[in-house]
């Protein structure tokens, strides 16, 4: 026993010496960060990282509102949630000079509507949300949102949809060709009717299981994020990811500097680290979305760089999920509750 104990105590002491550089508290999505990358960061900087996870933008917001602001340095909110967090005064700002690798951010991702000029956040990963279909079950045309909302016979009762109102109702809106955050009565009634009827053909609602149900075969079609679909395909699911003609949802997750960050300097060091092309590429190789950082291509695994999920065909229509104003949001909440009552 002593033989094991003493060396491990020494190792522990050495480890805490390395911790002298301090720590970093990261709040991230589930299955979204390879441990090797965190280890590499600790090795390079001596900063130890503690990571907690959440499963939706709204869960992140709820947790921060419930008093966790000040407990974390960085979070990884999606585009519209960056805007919401900023509006709620939950984000700190930095200047481009504070980040050595600020210049690595791809031009198109600097003046984004949710964080003009990148004052509080830097790109993490971006990708799309649509759906994937098991080609052994259904081999017809899948480039239409009708697959989910007016499914062909072969897919009825075998569909999983994401258990988040934002993405599912936005895709339904694309299907109907109505704008997001609509307050038009007829449009909302049509939306309500569409999802209520389609529900009869759905097997389940689930976000964190979106990949598993396709791999296990519990679902033959399912709404899913592009990288998650690529992973499902990698795990042997005979699926194809669709870019429906009605449009796909695009999103970008961002590393955002939280207000009252206990380790602000370390947080900026982490942002710099993630903006290194090699590290951004390592993240993309793991998560299988796109980086938003220049110079990553040479570090990407070829199958990730060329994956059909990350390379939408020319002319694909894309929309960001919008954050609706309060008086409109209650209508969408009511439709969602009505759908699941």
């Amino acid at each position: 026993m002593k033989k094991i104990l003493v060396p491990s105590l020494i190792a522990l002491a050495a480890a805490s010496a390395a911790q002298a550089e301090g720590e970093l508290k990261l709040y991230n999505w589930f299955e979204y960060m390879p441990q090797e990358l965190l280890d590499k960061f600790t090795e390079e900087t001596g900063i130890t990282v503690t990571m907690d996870t959440y499963d939706s933008n709204e869960a992140l917001l709820a947790s921060l509102k419930a008093g966790r602001l000040g407990a974390y340095d960085l979070a990884v909110p999606g585009d519209y949630m960056v805007k919401i967090l900023a509006d709620e005064g939950m984000l700190d700002t930095f200047t481009p000079e504070e980040l050595t690798n600020y210049g690595n951010i791809e031009e198109q991702w600097i003046d984004v509507p949710f964080d003009e000029g990148r004052k509080s956040s830097v790109p993490y990963q971006w990708g799309s949300t649509s759906f994937a279909v098991n080609r052994e079950v259904f081999d017809g045309d899948i480039q239409t949102t009708g697959i989910i909302f007016e499914p062909p016979e072969a897919l009825k009762g075998k569909i999983n949809v994401l258990d988040t109102a934002g993405e599912t109702l936005t895709l339904a809106s694309l299907h109907l060709g109505i704008p997001q955050c609509s307050s038009d009565r007829e449009q909302l009634k049509a939306l309500n009717a569409l999802v209520t009827e389609a529900k009869a053909d759905w097997a389940s609602f689930g976000s964190d299981v979106a990949k598993d149900v396709l791999v296990s075969g519990d679902a033959a079609a399912g709404m899913i994020w592009s990288g998650f679909a690529a992973k499902a395909r990698g795990e042997g699911a005979p699926i194809e990811y669709a870019f429906p003609k009605e449009g796909v949802i695009v999103w970008m997750d961002n590393i955002a500097l939280l207000k009252d960050a206990p380790n602000r300097d370390n947080a900026l060091a982490f942002m710099d680290f993630m903006l290194e092309p090699e590290n951004a590429a390592a993240l993309t190789n793991f998560a299988q979305y796109s980086a938003g950082v220049g110079g990553v291509t040479e570090f990407l695994d070829p199958e990730v760089a060329n994956s059909p999920e990350s390379n939408p065909p020319e002319g694909t229509d894309t929309v960001f999920v919008e954050a609706c104003p309060e008086e409109v949001q209650v209508l969408y909440d009511a439709i969602w509750t009505n759908l699941k009552k």
Binding site: K65, A165, D218, T337
Partner: protein, 306 residues
């Protein structure tokens, strides 16, 4: 009588006068972890909601209004009874009630069987009943999902044996939820009933037989009244957690319909972000549980005074 302390005073006398101090830890735990959170919830339920989570400190009954009154999607119709949330509550109550009944039907004979073995075997059987509890509830529920899915072992065996020619399609149904609840909470039914049956004096059954009572009559008039506290305790222990369960509905039922638990979760964690409403729903749920417990308490008192 039996437990005399060295000084000659009975143990109850030794602790006399210390009762309040000895109860202090209990009151602290109940106060800090039960009364304070409940008071907080009650307060939140009558505050004004803040958009996207949080509360504004202004009194409002909007949450209860939303629960009970339907003013149409756009809020401009004359108020009617709101069935949405009552439906969700009724679904949960029905599911929990059914799970309780199933547990009772299986749990009573099981407990009876265990209690009538010899002492050594009793320990073994009790151990077997509690073994699943060494594993986390989430793991057990996920395992159940793997077991009953269309591609899972249950269907594989049935298909192989030729008993069925296509998968049962159990997953994502209410039946699957039932199975999950029943399996999760069965020991909560078995253990209290076992405790009651173990104390049962079998001479009573013999006496009943001597007085020409049939088996059914003995069960109804002699056994059931004696073990009733155990039955009621078991029913409460199964019903109450089933009512708030959200793991089984989410994982086995496919989260297609809200249960009370997931409805409340959605208010705090979901896009709705309506904390007062979540708090109000939690208060209404708690009231239902309180009513159940009060009925139980009254039944107990009546029995004690009878």
């Amino acid at each position: 009588m039996a437990a005399m302390a060295p000084g000659g005073a009975s143990s109850s006398e030794i602790y006399k006068g210390h009762a309040k101090r000895l109860l202090l830890p209990t009151w602290l735990v109940i106060g800090v972890f039960l009364l304070v959170p409940v008071a907080l919830m009650a307060t939140y339920s009558v505050l004004t909601k803040e958009f996207r989570g949080g509360v504004i400190w202004e009194f409002s009954l909007a949450a209860y209004d939303q629960f009970f009154l339907d003013r149409g999607l756009f809020g401009d119709e004359p108020p009617r009874i709101e069935w949405t949330y009552l439906t969700i509550f009724w679904r949960s109550i029905w599911q929990a009630g059914l799970a309780t009944l199933l547990c009772l039907l299986i749990g009573f004979p099981t407990a009876w069987f265990i209690a009538t073995r010899d002492a050594r075997m009793r320990t073994v059987w009790l151990l077997i009943v509690t073994v699943p509890y060494w594993v986390n509830l989430l793991i057990r529920t996920v395992s159940m999902k793997f077991l009953i899915r269309d591609e899972g072992p249950l269907n594989a065996v049935l298909l192989w044996s030729g008993l069925i020619d296509q998968p049962l399609g159990l997953i994502n149904t209410n039946l699957a939820v039932q199975l999950g609840l029943f399996y999760s909470y069965l020991p909560f039914m078995v253990l209290p009933i076992y405790a009651a049956v173990e104390r049962y004096d079998f001479a009573l059954s013999e006496a009943a037989a001597d007085l020409y009572a049939g088996r059914w009559t003995t069960l109804r008039l002699v056994i059931l009244p004696v073990v009733r506290p155990g039955l009621i305790a078991g029913c409460i222990l199964v019903f109450v957690p089933s009512l708030g369960a959200f793991l089984a509905p989410d994982l086995l039922g496919g989260a297609k319909s809200f249960m009370i638990g997931s409805l409340i979760e959605e208010q705090f964690k979901g896009a709705a972000g309506n904390w007062p409403f979540g708090a109000a729903a939690a208060m209404i749920l708690m009231s239902i549980v309180m009513v159940v417990l009060l009925v139980y308490a009254r039944a107990q008192t009546r029995e004690a005074t009878a």
